[in-house]
Amino acid sequence: MQKQTENIIEVKDLVKRFGAFLANDNLTFEVKRGEIFGFLGANGAGKTTAIKILSGLSYPTSGLVNVAGFDVYKQRNKVKENIGYMSQKFSLYEDLTVKENIRFYGGIYGLSNKYIKQKTEDLLNRLKMTQIQNSLISSLPLGWKQKIAFSVAIFHNPKVVFLDEPTGGVDPITRRDFWEMIYEAADAGITVFVTTHYMDEAEYCDRVSIMDQGKIKALGTPTELKKLFKADNMDEVFLKIAR
């Protein structure tokens, strides 16, 4: 495997400006294929802005952004075919059932009915949700919804999946399950780009970057960063940077 060598995301001098406010100030970083990349930062540090640009939801003011080999600015639809996205706002249709949601998004990505049917079955078995496949999303607990939302985001086998605070408001056990799913996806070759402000989750990532006031202040493996900032855990690293 080419893991850890090929760049799947390349960002160079990315700037996003809202009037006088600089949300992203010259971001430059790369993400390798198959990596779990943690994108950390306090609220308002500019994480969501950056993730929206990377997933083609928002235009950068300037800079180069390449995702899955395509320019986000010029080849937006190519990029979109190759990425999955799960926002911090919950994004499944509450008034459709689990199965209908999967079918709907599968259809949008142009997957065949046969493929969707087969894969839905596998997926529901793996999630142990076969019983509730015909329940409305609105009737499910948040943790379950998040798991389904993640499964939907990677249903079309994207090269990269962007997760914007996927575990916000979820109980610790479900969070653990969720990270199991992230690892599974990474093993299957999907690059995971995840924002969070749980620092214990940062330890699960291959590499992390820490943003503060629109800038990337640190970037490296959790072990490297702890060494660099002479800290015992990521919590301390974070506090030293974002103080």
């Binding site: 928002s58 996205y85 919950f90 994004s91 998004y105 949008i108």
Partner: protein, 352 residues
């Protein structure tokens, strides 16, 4: 939601058709007869014989009659002065007074028109009687008979039902479509759609199809109600009506989706949609003929989708107009639909 979408308009249709009628059924009249003669009784019996009037009170005092109007017990006063018969016989001339409660202008002018025609009728008979007495038989009053085509009995329900149906179908489709995208914005699902490779036109078509189907069913149910409960005539071709409605719906839904695209909350949508609805409905010609509106209003009606549909549904149902009769409206709306749908595709932004 579905029972609401279909149930509410049908209830509205049944109620509104009865409520929006301009027919006068029971006009309360108050009689002040100070003459108490044969002639005055003859005049009164004319009114009593009409199905439109019922006498709510009589008195010799005009003050008491005025009080009845003030207390809303009467709609108008018929005041027959003393000497009515005497003047009529001796001087061939006399007058009665109508005092009408003018609080509702439309009602007042209708009462005036009805009552005047009764008095004229009475007048004509008198002339005939008096001339007979004088044995001069040269009086043959010209009798004008009016026939109303397409609605011979001037049945307001037949006239109003198609109009109200237009409003209901439009309200349903406009509000459903206008609320739709903005609701996805509020919930957040729009973002999930925007990261998919879905094309803008595919998105708009996806939004269009269900509402077109719902609205066509709505029209169908409305027509069934019209036939069963009100027995409205359906002279023209129903497939033509549905084809026209289809084009019309593209316009209305295009406007709705456009509003939805430019708004970010459901409140904004409500406000904008309500504003346009009200203006469009009142200018559409449902109650008043558009030809009697000022020139600028008639020009504004070019962008009023109601105006086209209001005309065409009446033309097809009541008059039996064919495709060529409505082709001007049809093609105007087709162009309008193309513009509105392009606008809403253009205005749907996948990227900020």
């Amino acid at each position: 939601m579905l029972p609401l979408i279909f149930g509410v308009p049908i209830i509205q249709l049944v109620i509104l058709v009865h409520a929006a009628t301009l027919e006068m059924k029971s006009i309360d009249m108050y009689v002040v007869d100070n003459d108490l003669s044969t002639m005055s009784h003859k005049l009164l019996s004319k009114f009593e014989g009409s199905p439109f009037y019922n006498i709510s009170g009589t008195s010799f005092s005009i003050d008491e009659a005025n009080k009845a109007i003030e207390e809303n017990k009467a709609d108008f006063i018929l005041n027959i002065p003393r000497g009515f018969e005497r003047n009529l016989v001796s001087e061939n001339e006399c007058s009665v007074q109508l005092l009408i409660d003018g609080i509702n202008g439309t009602t007042a002018s209708l009462i005036n028109a009805y009552s005047t025609s009764i008095i004229m009728d009475f007048n004509k008979n008198i002339i005939v009687d008096l001339t007979k007495m004088a044995s001069i038989k040269n009086s043959s009053p010209i009798n004008v008979e009016t026939t109303f085509w397409y609605n011979p009995e001037l049945n307001y329900k037949i006239y109003m039902l198609p109009g109200i149906l237009v409003i209901l179908v439009t309200i349903i489709s406009m509000f459903l479509s206008a609320m739709n995208i903005v609701r996805e914005k509020e919930i957040g699902t729009i973002e999930q759609l925007n990261v998919t490779p879905i094309r803008k036109y595919q998105f708009i078509i996806g939004k269009l199809v269900p509402f077109v189907i719902i609205a066509l069913f709505e029209l169908f149910f409305g027509l069934v109600i019209g036939k069963v409960f009100f027995n409205i005539p359906m002279v023209g071709s129903l497939p033509l009506l549905f084809a026209f409605t289809f084009v019309y719906l593209l316009v209305v839904l295009g406007i709705g989706l456009f509003i939805s695209n430019i708004s970010s909350t459901q409140q904004q949508v409500m406000f904008i949609a309500y504003f346009f609805m009200l203006v469009f409905i009142l200018m559409s010609g449902i109650f008043t003929p558009t030809e009697s509106m000022p020139m600028w209003a008639q020009r504004v009606n070019i962008i009023n989708p109601f105006y086209y549909f209001m005309r065409v549904i009446r033309m097809i149902l009541l008059k039996g107009s064919g495709f060529w009769d409505i082709s001007k409206e049809f093609f105007s709306l087709l162009i309008y639909a193309a513009i509105m749908l392009s606008l809403s595709v253009w205005r749907y932004k996948k990227v900020e």
